[in-house]
Structure formats: structure tokens, C-alpha cells
Symmetry: C2
Subunit: 353 residues, 2 copies
């Protein structure tokens, strides 16, 4: 009972084709007919059946985005970025969740493919490429990995330069005069390791010594992040070397660490300067405003969306591309010191905000 093309056509004593032409903005229709059609379409609240159209044209003008979850702000920003980019190009976006479950991810991908999405953006949790290899995709639907490369895959990819996250934070601390940099290190994942490497490289390039004592490991992922940060700081404070700058894997860890420092009477940023990562506004605007390396989720999303659209119009075959988005430092009071500017780090640290 929904209105169809034919209904309008009969109603107006025209053929379906004419209506179809008007609706797709084709030119070879008399102005008068066009007006009549548009009028009636509006009156009847006609809404083209996208299924029928897609079946005929072979494209849906819809992209699929697959994310592990939406509760991490990073992923919701990512989704937003993709959505914006893709919508501005006249495409729709269908977001699907995997709950960090590799099998569910596969089912969701199959589902989106069955629905004939024009391209697929996947934040994958697969450990191997076998599933994707089996898809025999690439010949058909463009696929872009986002945020996380599947180990061994050579497909198109857009992500954050984790290595630069570490480097940016360290460079910044160095630039405000810190000399003994501590790091509350994240998990031993590829991404976590890259950040850590970036941190070390920055030290190296600034010719600062690396103190293994100043790097605190994950400390049991069971504990709440805040507590991990808090306890990590306490441990640092009871060590031989007193740090004068600290970078944390997450903002929440940094907040915990700052609290621990404050509880020991340390002044921030004079005594120790702090930098977190993630730039989660709400966390960064608590007691002492926290400087943080912004993970640029929406930029990653926009770039990934753009790449997918390009792959579509290139009718694939363009070979796979890779983009690493640079994180942006947002400085706030937790690292706002004037003194002790040192020779600038050799790479631009991308300070903003």
C-alpha cells in the first residue's frame, strides 16, 4: 500500500519512466510535466523504494562501518567522522557492532555484504587475515581497515599514528623543560608498543637518558584505570629517580596520577608536568586541566570515509593505500610551564589547541 512510481504515473496519465526521470533530475522533461510530477509526489508523500532501485542499479549508496563497540569515545567519534564525510557525498552509513567478538564481526560483515553496501569500513578484531582473504573481496566491494591493521594484511588502511602519540607527548614535555620523563605505559598491544617506541625515540632525539625505572607497566588490567594511574604515580614517587614530567597511556590514568602527585604535595605543573592521551574533554576539564594528545577519532573517520568513497569511484583496482593520521597535542594547565625551554625537538610536535 505504499505509493509506487506507477501510482503517480497512472494518476497523472504519464508513464513510470517520466516520473522516474523527474525524480532523478534528468533534463529531458518539459518544465510543465516536471512541475506536475513534483507536485503530486509531494502530495502523495511518495518515497522511492531503495531496495528496488538498488536491485536495478547495483548500488545502494550506503557504506557499512563495523566497530567493536561504541562506548569508547574514540569509536563514537570515529563513527561520527565517517558519517559526516560520507553523508556530505550523498551516501548513507550503517553502523554495526561486534562487541570485540571476532566471529560476530564476521557475521556482521557478511550481513552488510548481503545488503550490498558499496564499501566496508572495518575496525577489525581478527587476529589473522584468513577471513578477509576468503572474502574474495577487493575484486568487488572496497574494504578499508580502520584504526587497526589486521596482522599481515596489505589492504587499505587508515589509522592513528600511535608512534606519534608517544613522540608528541614526550616532545611536548621536553619542550616545557622536563628532563626526567616517566611513562605510565599501556597494554602490550601493537599499538601500545608503538606509542612506547615513539616515547623512547623522542627521548633519544633530544639526547635525554632513558630510565627504565620511570616506565611503569600496565599493572594488572583488572584494576580501574584511575587506580592504575594513582598507584603507578606512587610507585614512581618511591623510586630512586624523581620524574619531572609524566605521560600516561590514557587520560584517566593521567588523572589518577595527578591525584597521587597532589596527595604527596607535589605541585602541577611546576613539580611534575602531565600529559594524557585521548583528549577526552570531560576528563581533561577536572581539577587541574589536563594536557592531552588528541587521538583525532573524527579525523581518522573522515579520512577513512573519504578513502572508501575514492575506492568506489576508482572502481577499486587502485591498489591499497595507507594513511596515518597525526595526533594533535592540546595543551592545558597540567603542562603549562614557561621556564626551561630546551632546544626544540627535531620534529614538529604538532602543538595546537
Amino acid at each position: 500500500m505504499p505509493v509506487r512510481l506507477k501510482d503517480i504515473a497512472d494518476d497523472l496519465n504519464l508513464s513510470k519512466m517520466t516520473i522516474s526521470r523527474v525524480l532523478r533530475g534528468q533534463t529531458d522533461v518539459s518544465a510543465e510535466t516536471k512541475a506536475r510530477v513534483l507536485q503530486r509526489v509531494k502530495e502523495l508523500r511518495y518515497r522511492p523504494n531503495a531496495m528496488a532501485r538498488s536491485l536495478r542499479t547495483g548500488q545502494t549508496s550506503t557504506l557499512g562501518l563495523i566497530v567493536p563497540s561504541l562506548r569508547e569515545t574514540y569509536f563514537s567519534e570515529l563513527a561520527r567522522g565517517v558519517d559526516q564525510m560520507v553523508r556530505s557525498a550523498g551516501y548513507g552509513l550503517a553502523v554495526c557492532l561486534t562487541e570485540d567478538d571476532a566471529e560476530l564481526e564476521q557475521r556482521q560483515i557478511e550481513l552488510l555484504l548481503a545488503r550490498q553496501v558499496d564499501a566496508l569500513l572495518v575496525v577489525s578484531v581478527q587476529e589473522t587475515t584468513t577471513f578477509f582473504d576468503g572474502l574474495a573481496i577487493g575484486e568487488s566491494v572496497p574494504l578499508v581497515f580502520v584504526n587497526r591493521k589486521v596482522p599481515g594484511s596489505t589492504r587499505s588502511f587508515v589509522g592513528l599514528s600511535e608512534e606519534r602519540v608517544g613522540r608528541t607527548a614526550a616532545d611536548h614535555l621536553i619542550s616545557v623543560g622536563c628532563r626526567r620523563l616517566a611513562y605510565l605505559r599501556g597494554p602490550r598491544t601493537p599499538a601500545g608498543d608503538l606509542r612506547y617506541n615513539g616515547f623512547r625515540e623522542a627521548l633519544h632525539e633530544a639526547e635525554l637518558p632513558y630510565h627504565a625505572d620511570l616506565v611503569i607497566d600496565g599493572m594488572g588490567a583488572e584494576a580501574a584505570e584511575y587506580k592504575r594511574g594513582f598507584d603507578g604515580m606512587l610507585r614512581l614517587l618511591s623510586g630512586r629517580i624523581r620524574p619531572d614530567g609524566l605521560m600516561a597511556y590514557t587520560d584517566m590514568m593521567a588523572v589518577g596520577a595527578m591525584d597521587a602527585a597532589l596527595s604527596r604535595g607535589i605541585r602541577i605543573p611546576e613539580g611534575i608536568a602531565f600529559v594524557g592521551s585521548g583528549n577526552e574533554t570531560r576528563l581533561c576539564e577536572m581539577r587541574i586541566a589536563l594536557s592531552s594528545v588528541d587521538a583525532a577519532g573524527d579525523e581518522v573517520g573522515r579520512k577513512a570515509g573519504r578513502m572508501a568513497l575514492q575506492l568506489i569511484s576508482d572502481n577499486s583496482k587502485a591498489g591499497s593505500r595507507r594513511i596515518l593520521v597525526s595526533p594533535k597535542l592540546v595543551q592545558r594547565s597540567s603542562s603549562l610551564r614557561q621556564y626551561g625551554k630546551v632546544a626544540p625537538a627535531k620534529r614538529p610536535s604538532g602543538i595546537s589547541g
Copy 2:
């Protein structure tokens, strides 16, 4: 060039129908044929074209969910709840964003309808019902409003009982012995007002006096939530009446308020007990673990998903239903006091966690 039903059929010297039957699990196919078909289907990685199927059957097995944003944890939990429920019933979910923009919301709805979703779940930001009235929906695609009723609408609705959020928090504070309850009040929205009413009613039923001085208004929504909570508490502390329990509109405000109290040497929960709302795990597990009224986003999502599925199978016409989900109190140390149990509040306060 993707594999079609016909390809398999030709390949196996069968008709399309037989293949179709096997794939849909119909019974009247010989076990042998069935096995052969399944085998070949797997080999060729055949994936049914959902567009074609939907066009034929008139249903997509997909629901649409429209949310203003995904950055609020509440909405992402909501989406997750809907997704879970709906997937367990063999349906898919397409999530779309509106960025709090009423016009974009309308476009997204039109899009999903064009894509023939079987039902629509909408967290609407419309101020009037006119758009939905015009949809002439209800005759066709079931629509469920989620979390927020559009003013004046009488459609199906699933949401959180805001009134009970206020009541639950207040009841709890009363039950741990508080007598002078303060409230860091949220925005002057319908939801905010309901919470406030619940708070007052709880006081009334416990025969406790209401002190207008102990209710602090939004204090300029420009300021960061933490700061609003912090400043609100300071204002309370400089007032005539010293509160012994405080409820805040959000967890972040509660955290800010606790910090302010601590900075004035007040002990928590002995001096003042605190309850937030939202039960955002990360915020509740900071310095002093914060008791909070859980907004039950995923339960709202699950119930909304279920209602939508019911409306589908009832082939609508069931008349509109309303469900108000009750929030759950999660007690943590910020309100963990033993003494002074008062006569129990007249309603169950739904303590858990």
C-alpha cells in the same frame, strides 16, 4: 559478477527454487540434494542478495535506530541494548545519527524508510509532532519513540522513569540516615524537571523538610560539568544549612562536588553522602567510589527493541504502548554509612549492585 542463485542452480542442474528452498531451510528437499547444494554454496561463497529478497518479500529484517549522538555513554548503551535484543531475534540494526539536528533527524528517518526498515526506533529531538503526523506511519512501519517523548505524541514509547531517578537517589540518601538533602539540579528540561519532582516527592513521603537553599540550579551550562559540581558544593557549604547528603544530576557533577567537599575537610560519606546519576563506571571508580543511579541505557534499549519487534509481529494495530524503565541504584563508598537507618521509605528504592 557475484554468484547468484541461478549460478548454483545451473551448476548443479537444479532449478533456482530448489536452491532457494535449501537456503531458507525448507523441509521438502531430499537430504542428498540438500547436501549437494549446501556444499556448492559454501564452495562458491554464495551470499544471497538481500535487496532482491527484500524486494520480493517486502521485509528487510532490519530495524532502524536514530540517535542524536553516540558520544554520550547513555546512547551508546542504548544502541547496544537494541542491537542485542534485535539480533537475538534474527534482525539487523542500522544506527543513524542526527547530531541533535531536527532537520537531519527527518532526513535520516526518510532514508531509513526508503530503505524499507521493518520498524523505526527514534530518540527524537523534534519539538512538535507535525513531522511524525505527516509520515502517515503507524499504518505502515511501526515506530517507537525512545528515551524522549515528542511533546504531544501518543505513540509507543520506551524510556527511563526520570521521576524515579530523583526518587531513588533521595530515598537512598534518606535510608542511610541523611536528613538535609541537597540537589545539584540539572537543566530545566522536561526530564530534568521530572527528576527534581521525584526528589521532592521522596522528601515529602519521608516527611523531611524541603529546603530551597539546598537546591542549586544549573549554574550556566557553559561551564564544564566538573566545575559546576565543584562550585555548587562550595555554594552549599557557604549557606545557612549544611547538607548531610547530596544528589547530583550527573556523575561528573557529583565528582566535582565531592572534590569541593574534600577540599573543605569534609569526610565522605560521614560528613556528607553523595549520589550521582548515570553510573558511568569510569567516573564512579575514581577517588572515592561514587554511588550512582544507573540510567539503565541498555535495558531501555532492549525493551525498546522488543517492543518494536512485537509491533512488527502484531502487524501494528496493537495501539501504542508505553514502558518506563526503573533506574537502579548502585551503592558505593560515597554513601556507605551504617548509622542512622530511618524508617524505610514508602517505596522500594531498588537498591542493587
